[in-house]
């Protein structure tokens, strides 16, 4: 048996192509280099066989409507391909490489109109479009972060304070505008070029972080105009199936991500929603999901122990991890689903970590587990006692409406549901029986006792949240979410220290976020990760001023849901926040580059087309779920000037990809110039069509995959 020939994980054998609709022959030459890496090469370890290899442009053929019309021509200096009638595009083929391609490749295609195959080197008649240059659609890989980075001196205004909190000046922050874009994208969902410019001029990264951390001071005016209210259907005898109501409720999160001015809060909320991943597949009610999101958001920048404790009592979590009606008895003990995962996934992790995030190893070099099977039993028993009610508390015909909206953990804690097995010492601490006694009430707290709900749960979660290994586990996961999938141990150590030093602070997570964003290593994370689908969508909508569709006061089933288009695209890319595929959420920490597989990329291109079509440069008169409002870019006269075209393209590039590479800029600009020059439609229509194409091009580029 012979070895398998290397092939591309992305299958990126072809470039997007070149317009040849007016050509009879195309002359092709190519230059540049292409390197390739297989997916795992970006990891902390390097699998054998991971070395860079090279590819080369080898062939081209012409197509129409996706079907080839010509034979495949080998490409070399002055290779000429006859173009059959009806062909519209030239597709380019790149030779086999071992993985996703990185680098640039330039293809120059001359459309020529000679009646016969021209002799090489002889004069041909060029068409008006002339030369088109195409940048090969390579992919951005996961580049390990350097262990140390050099930082530029701080800008003079980097320490200007906004808001009441003093900003600690940190050298190296915000030296460039793209750094501001990077920070606003990582700790938010990006913003329009105008907003980026504002913060660049007004204190840069630290100022924006400080402003965002004090989120209660951000009025968030207008949010109600862009986020659907919860449906109210009381008194309506019609039964609305859950599946019909779900899109309205579910899209609210996406709408909020797009429209809220409290961007940092919303991004950290997403981090926790992915960390404490709950799937509606086992959750009965849309409103339980909504309630869950709101609870997580309320605690997102607060105290971690409180966050875990509140999450543990949420109906959605109780249903998802089977902790509802989970009492157990002498014959059949409590189930261990939540009892196990609250340790492994939510707090202390699977194996013990040093403060710098590296695993604690035993004498044989094996990582040391954080918990034993006995601990799982103890944990499961301690966390019992909940009984949330389903259909019995529904109001009217609306599934689950009031039950969740008025959810009160105390009223859903029943001592008869609590497993009273003795609580042994866990992690060196023991929960006193007196603590358990305080929990022995249901509904109204007895006089003199705090009405804070089931206190064994609080006490137990407190122990988990305070473990030193939790500091490193959570700090590293946050760095992997917000900065780089392979953060340096020193960076982890610094953030872990902040985490551990503030376990009792009510704004513990905010302090950690501030430490991450103002760390000298923060800026080195730029472009080292791949955008998650939800980021790809929300970032683009925000960057192109898409939060413009007003919602209705009382959304009803069947109505067009604002922003449902890009939201559904993120679902097509297999990231629906309400439906994480497993308790591990979407992308296991350190594995986000798995997003660069052929299926995901195909879905992104599809979505790029959809979003491009949402661009308007004139006020829209027809209803659409999404409008990307670029009316400010409309040309002044009946015919766009080249300067107006360049300005519009630059704006889109700035908004979507921090300006992009010179190659991408050249492609987009040339495309738009050709389009507006050649179009026979009215100026505005052709300008709008061209701009839509530019958005599609840019969002299909590797630059827009990088985060």
């Amino acid at each position: 048996m012979s070895d398998v020939p290397a092939r591309s994980v992305l299958g990126a054998g072809y470039d997007a192509g070149i317009d040849v609709s007016t050509a009879r022959y195309v002359r092709i030459s190519a230059s540049g280099t292409l390197t390739a890496k297989y997916g795992a090469c970006g990891r902390s370890y390097v699998p054998s066989g991971c070395g860079a290899s090279q590819g080369a442009l080898v062939a081209a053929f012409a197509t129409s409507n996706g079907r080839p019309l010509s034979g495949v021509t080998k490409v070399g200096e002055f290779a000429v391909l006859p173009v059959p009638g009806g062909a519209t595009r030239l597709l380019l083929k790149v030779n086999g490489v071992t993985g996703h391609e990185v680098g640039s490749y330039h293809v120059v295609a001359d459309a020529v109109n000679a009646a016969t195959v021209p002799t090489l080197g002889s004069a041909e008649q060029h068409t008006g479009g002339g030369v088109q240059r195409v940048h090969f659609m390579g992919r951005v890989g996961g580049v390990p972060m350097p262990a140390s980075v050099s930082v530029a001196p701080a800008e003079a205004n980097a320490s200007r304070a906004l808001g009441s909190r003093p900003i600690v000046p940190v050298s190296g922050t915000a030296p460039t505008r793209s750094d501001v874009q990077y920070a606003m994208r990582r700790f938010g969902f990006g913003d329009s070029p105008e907003q980026v410019s504002y913060w660049y001029r007004h204190g840069g990264v630290p100022a924006w972080i400080t402003f965002q951390l004090a989120y209660n001071a951000i009025p968030d005016t207008g949010l109600a105009n862009y986020v659907d209210p919860m449906p109210v259907l009381t008194g309506n005898a019609t039964i609305y199936p859950d599946d019909d109501v779900q899109p309205i409720v579910e899209t609210r999160l996406f709408q909020q991500q797009v429209a809220t001015q409290r961007q940092l809060l919303e991004k950290v909320t997403l981090h926790w929603l992915e960390h404490f991943a709950v799937s509606k597949y086992l959750v009965g009610s849309n409103f339980d999901m909504e309630h869950y999101v709101e609870t997580v958001r309320a605690d997102a920048l607060g105290n971690f122990a409180k966050l875990v404790s509140d999450v543990a009592k949420e109906p959605a979590m109780l249903e998802w991890l089977d902790n509802n009606y989970n009492s157990g008895n002498a014959t059949n003990p409590p189930n261990q689903n939540f009892g196990r995962e609250v340790m492994q996934l939510y707090t202390i992790g699977l194996t013990q970590l040093n403060a710098d995030g590296t695993p604690v190893l035993d004498a044989t070099g094996t990582p040391v587990p954080t918990y034993s099977q006995n601990d799982v039993v103890t944990s499961s028993e301690a966390l019992t006692g909940f009984e949330i009610h389903g259909s019995s508390t529904q109001v009217g015909s609306y599934p689950g409406l009031v039950d969740s909206v008025t959810f009160n953990p105390a009223s859903h804690y029943n001592p008869a549901m609590h497993n009273n097995a003795p609580l042994p010492t866990i992690f060196g601490q023991t929960i006193a029986d007196s603590t358990r006694a305080q929990c022995a009430w249901n509904g109204t707290a007895p006089a003199g006792q705090a009405a804070s709900g089931p206190c064994v749960v609080d006490a137990f979660v407190q122990i988990l949240a305070m473990q030193p290994t939790t500091c490193a586990f959570e700090a590293k996961e946050m760095l992997q979410r917000f900065v780089n999938e392979n953060p340096s141990p020193a960076y982890v150590n610094r953030i872990s220290s902040v985490w551990c030093s503030n376990v009792n602070a009510s704004n513990q997570i905010a302090l950690v976020v501030n430490a991450i964003a103002t760390d000298p290593e923060f800026l080195a994370g730029k472009y080292t990760m791949v955008k998650e689908p939800i980021e790809y969508e929300v970032d683009a909508v925000r960057a192109l001023r898409g939060a413009k569709n007003a919602v209705s006061a009382n959304p009803i089933v069947g109505q067009t849901i604002p922003l449902s288009g890009p939201f559904n695209d993120s679902k097509s890319m297999q990231q629906e926040v309400w439906y994480p595929p497993s308790v591990f959420s979407f992308y296991y920490p350190g594995h986000k580059e798995d997003l660069l597989n052929n299926y995901e990329i195909l879905s992104r291109w599809q979505s790029a087309a959809n979003l491009g079509a949402d661009v308007v440069i004139q006020p829209r008169t027809t209803q659409a779920d999404t409008t990307l409002d670029l009316t400010g870019l409309a040309p002044a006269g009946t015919i766009a000037t080249p300067a107006e075209v360049r300005s519009a393209v630059d704006y889109v590039l700035d908004a979507l990809v921090d300006g992009g590479t010179p190659e991408l800029r050249a492609i987009a600009t040339n495309y738009m110039l050709n389009f507006t020059n050649n179009s026979s439609t009215t100026a505005n229509n052709s300008f709008q069509q061209g701009l839509r194409g530019v958005v599609w091009l840019v969002m299909s580029s590797p630059e827009d995959e990088a985060n």
Partner: protein, 462 residues
């Protein structure tokens, strides 16, 4: 053995030259006669083996386990009457439905019981990751061990199937490793051959024309269509299309045939928009509109196999984690096992119609087994050993075990089931079936000898 109609099932009005088709046929025949194919069905979440194969009372030894089973699983124990009613009882040696009294398949698994009677189902008992391997009962590590075939934390993120294919190759023209869940699972990760990902929710994925026209003079559909074609058959183009012969049309037809739902109008989109002469059955097994994740994915596998794809290892699962039945297990697991049982037997039967079943094996894997006892939520928690299945015409059917049944005794004191068969013996048997050297994959020669602790597995095939 191979029908053009079958090959084109779901394709819309695509024509290509007879010569091309003959070559594709030749490729299909070549693949069918020379290469073994493994379909990995991941019971992701960790299937409970003890309610999958139930101990009955046919002998004193099994009756003892049956008594403990009923004692420890009082709220989920499957009564013998249910198994009698479903006629899923059986013995270690395959016999006709209606015979046997030692074990019972879950009553929902009547289809698999029927195939067991044909001698085409191997039931492997007490399989798992050995004791003292850290965190073997966590989803994270349990599934990692199963995917890599290694039992240490420092293993590279490479799968046993991917490494096996690195040794034996997959033929050229198409990825030898294909995942049907839209991502790349660890078990398929390879040093040499990046796997191909086919979207998970293929029932809802259709490629529309896209509203953006005139993007570099073409439609979005065109670009994406080309991209899809490239994704699916870039290598195919390189060899069969041969870069100079202009047969890309055939390759696009190939891409459409194997994955029509991407291109719209395929049978998986719910309707029956294909050319009327194509019976829906050809693409969806039974022609019903019942949406089955497992069937839909296996239908894709069947289509690729019949299309002549040289793929050697496929991966699919139900939705991730669905087998993690901590509560309400009876109905949840019953539904999953029924879907698995019906899908896999239909899959094999379908391939048989085209004489393409002789080299295809479906194997189950999972995170771990589940506790011997049931919990207060009428479910089971993370445990150790479980039952696994090999299904297909190359399989020598029967029950493979070192023990009449995994011993339930430890459960009476909160203990876990012993591992009767190290999971690496099980993997080793399949790696050898693929033609690879298990020592190079599993890092130890001890698992090549299937007559040792993996007693009986030596005859899993043949």
């Amino acid at each position: 053995m191979f029908s053009r109609r079958k090959f084109l099932c779901g394709a819309t009005a695509v024509s290509f030259s007879a010569g091309t088709f003959v070559r594709l046929l030749a490729r299909a025949a070549e693949a069918a006669t020379t290469n073994t194919i493994v379909v990995v069905y991941d019971m992701n979440g960790g299937n409970d083996g003890f309610n999958t194969i139930v101990p009955l009372t046919g002998s004193p030894a099994i009756a003892k386990q049956n008594a403990l089973y009923n004692q420890l699983r009082s709220n989920i124990a499957i009564p013998i009457s249910a198994i009698e009613s479903a006629q899923t009882y059986f013995d270690a040696t395959p016999s006709a439905v209606g015979m046997g009294g030692t074990y019972g398949f879950n009553p929902s698994m009547t289809s698999l019981r029927a195939m067991y009677a044909q001698g085409k189902v191997a039931v492997v008992s007490g399989v798992g990751v050995p004791a003292n391997v850290p965190n073997r009962s966590s989803h994270q590590q349990g599934s990692f061990y199963w995917a890599t075939g290694a039992i240490d934390y420092s293993s590279p993120d490479l799968g046993w199937a991917g490494l096996a294919i690195d040794q034996v190759g997959g033929g050229s023209g198409f990825s030898p490793l294909v995942a049907l869940n839209g991502g790349i699972p660890t078990v398929l990760r390879s040093r040499k051959a990046p796997p191909l990902a086919i979207g998970g929710d293929i029932g809802s994925f259709t490629l529309n024309t896209g509203p953006v026209s005139n993007v570099t003079g073409s439609t979005a559909l065109e670009a994406n269509d080309a991209y899809a074609t490239a994704s699916l058959s870039a290598e195919y183009a390189r060899t069969v299309g041969n870069e100079t012969t202009g047969d890309i049309g055939a390759l696009q037809a190939y891409a459409r045939a194997v994955n029509p739902d991407r291109l719209g109008g395929g049978p998986f989109t719910g309707g029956d928009p294909v050319t009327p002469s194509f019976a829906p059955y050809q693409c969806n097994f039974d022609g019903t509109s019942t949406y089955s994740i497992t069937k839909t994915k296996l239908a894709q596998v069947a289509r690729l196999i019949l299309g002549g794809a040289p793929t050697r290892a496929y991966y699919l699962n139900h939705n991730p984690g669905y087998f993690d039945t901590h509560s309400a297990q009876i109905s949840r697991q019953g539904n999953l096992l029924q879907e698995f049982s019906e899908s896999v037997t239909e899959f094999v039967s379908y391939l048989r119609q085209y004489n393409a079943s002789h080299n295809v094996v479906v194997m189950t894997v999972g995170d771990f087994g589940r506790t011997l006892w049931s919990n207060g939520s009428a479910g089971t928690d993370h445990g150790t050993s479980t039952y696994h299945f090999l299904v297909g015409d190359p399989v020598k059917g029967g029950l493979y075990t070192t023990n009449v049944y995994p011993d339930f005794s430890p459960g009476t004191s909160g203990g876990y089931a012993a591992i009767d068969i190290d999971f690496r013996y099980y993997l080793s048997a399949v790696i050898q079936y693929l033609g690879a050297d298990p020592e190079l994959v599993l890092g130890s020669s001890s698992f090549s000898n299937l007559t040792g602790a993996g007693a009986g597995l030596t005859s899993l095939f043949g």
